[in-house]
């Protein structure tokens, strides 16, 4: 360990410091000395400036193209997450409600069809009873989703952030103070095999995973349940994740983004 007294100036250490050849403890001592000794600070700066040019002694090689695209995607994602939230004005527009109306109609038709299936299945034997129970559970789920949609007070648009989601749109339907809501996803292709779409809600320093889903319908409603009221978060996003594995942090493959 170096003992850097005021009277002992940096000599050999400046070069070793610039080349990253000093142990950490000596690095601290050198920096502490140079801070109060202008000639040594100058010596250190000169050594660092010279050493940095050694990078040019390595043979330059082109990195693969995906390095840049992945980096740009990271920047895009970060700039979205650090963007200041929009002023809390009502953003409910007719256009954003249109898909909701369409989905409600879709649900009604679907439930009517399932109701007839239930009626038919009632006449059948015990084997069919299991299937009717499943259908009824789905209907209950759909009814809850419809209720959440019907009572939602605000709509937030999500826009595509990935070439994989080109042409896709989504709207988050939510109610102030409620942790449950419904996302209507439109024109989102099914994820690649082994992948699922994962919904996240986020604010500074917090990213919470919610439901995951596989979009198969042109207009897909997905119920969302966040740990806290949805309007206590700033952003909502949908990422592409492996269907197995825990999702503690979103991957870099962001598909759709929106302000809450």
């Amino acid at each position: 360990m170096l003992r850097m007294k005021e009277t002992i100036h940096i000599d050999d250490e400046a070069a070793a410091y610039a080349l990253h050849a000093l142990p950490d403890s000596d690095v601290t001592a050198v920096e502490a000395h140079a801070k109060h000794c202008p000639p040594c600070q100058q010596k250190l700066n000169d050594s660092v400036e010279t050493a940095q040019l050694l990078a040019l002694a390595a043979v330059a090689q082109q990195p693969p193209g995906w390095c840049k695209s992945s980096l740009l995607q990271r920047i895009e994602r970060e700039s979205f997450l650090t963007r200041p939230a929009r002023s809390p004005q009502s953003r409910t527009r007719l256009a954003s409600w249109m898909p909701m109306v369409a989905v409600l109609a879709l649900f009604s038709l679907w439930n009517m069809r399932m109701q007839s299936e239930v009626n038919a299945s009632r006449a059948e034997a015990a084997a069919a009873q299991r299937s009717s129970t499943t259908i009824q559970a789905t209907m209950r789920q759909n009814a809850m989703t419809m209720a959440m949609l019907a009572q939602s007070q605000a709509t937030r648009p999500l826009s595509a952030k990935s070439p994989a989601a080109q042409g896709a749109e989504a709207w988050m339907h939510m109610t102030n103070g409620q942790s449950g809501g419904v996302i209507i996803v439109k024109n989102l292709p099914a994820p690649p095999p082994g992948k699922v779409y994962q919904i996240w809600v986020a604010r500074e320093g917090v990213k919470e995973p919610c439901e995951s889903f596989i979009s198969v319908e042109p207009m897909q409603p997905v119920a969302v349940h966040a740990p806290q009221a949805l309007d206590s978060y700033k952003w909502i996003m949908i990422t592409l994740e492996d269907s197995s594995g825990s999702h503690a942090q979103p991957s870099d493959q962001t598909i759709l983004f929106g302000d809450l």
């Binding site: 990253h20 050694l54 040019l56 002694a57 390595a58 330059a60 082109q62 390095c67 980096l71």
Partner: protein
């Protein structure tokens, strides 16, 4: 030094200054341009230090990510390239030490100088300037006494401390320290002659 080379370098420096200022303001196209200009130098450095393609690919992304994040704190009175190389070298050495993957002492003298990389008069722009500087650095290294060159290269590219270099080479620590100091001093003097570093 040829007037043309000085002019090309000054233009490249001015372009870099302008690009990094725009990056500091959040301009992604300027960031893209800086990446295109320097990614191959950073990747080459990362490959030489980390000796693993995958790790070097990660390094390029992380180094340029730091450029994006730190652009606003960049001291505009200084040149961009040495600042970038500093970030890249820091990252690579930290990564090497973090993984505790210490390469064997391999001093590859055959990698320099590759004078054929120095472009002719027809080559202009940043690419040519970099190739020219590359040639000058390698030529300067070649003019160092072999033991001084070895000390510099081992420290810079292998992430070994002075003590580790002394142990591996079987030299006293004091000898290694002196070689590093004299080697870097002489390199500086040689590069000053080409105005690659300030007098």
């Amino acid at each position: 030094m040829a007037r043309r080379e000085t002019q090309d370098r000054a233009e490249t420096r001015a372009d870099d200054d302008q690009l990094i200022a725009r990056v500091a303001a959040g301009d992604r196209s300027a960031f893209d341009a800086l990446y295109e200009r320097y990614a191959s130098a950073v990747f080459g450095l990362a490959l030489k230090v980390l000796r693993e393609r995958e790790a070097a690919e990660e390094a390029v992304q992380e180094v340029f990510w730091r450029v994006w994040k730190r652009a606003a704190s960049f001291d505009r009175s200084r040149a961009f390239a040495p600042w970038l190389f500093g970030i890249a070298h820091n990252y690579c050495i930290d990564e090497l030490r973090r993984r505790k993957v210490r390469p064997q002492v391999v001093y590859e003298d055959d990698e320099h100088p590759i004078l054929s990389e120095i472009p002719g008069d027809a080559d202009i722009g940043a690419e040519a300037v970099m190739a020219e500087q590359r040639g000058l650095v390698r030529a300067a290294l070649d003019r160092l006494p072999p033991e001084q060159r070895e000390a510099l290269m081992l420290a810079y590219f292998s992430g070994l401390t002075q003590q580790e270099i002394a142990t591996q080479l079987g030299n006293p620590l004091g000898t290694v320290k002196t070689r590093m100091r004299l080697g870097l001093q002489k390199l500086r003097t040689l590069l000053q002659g080409h105005q690659l570093v300030e007098e």
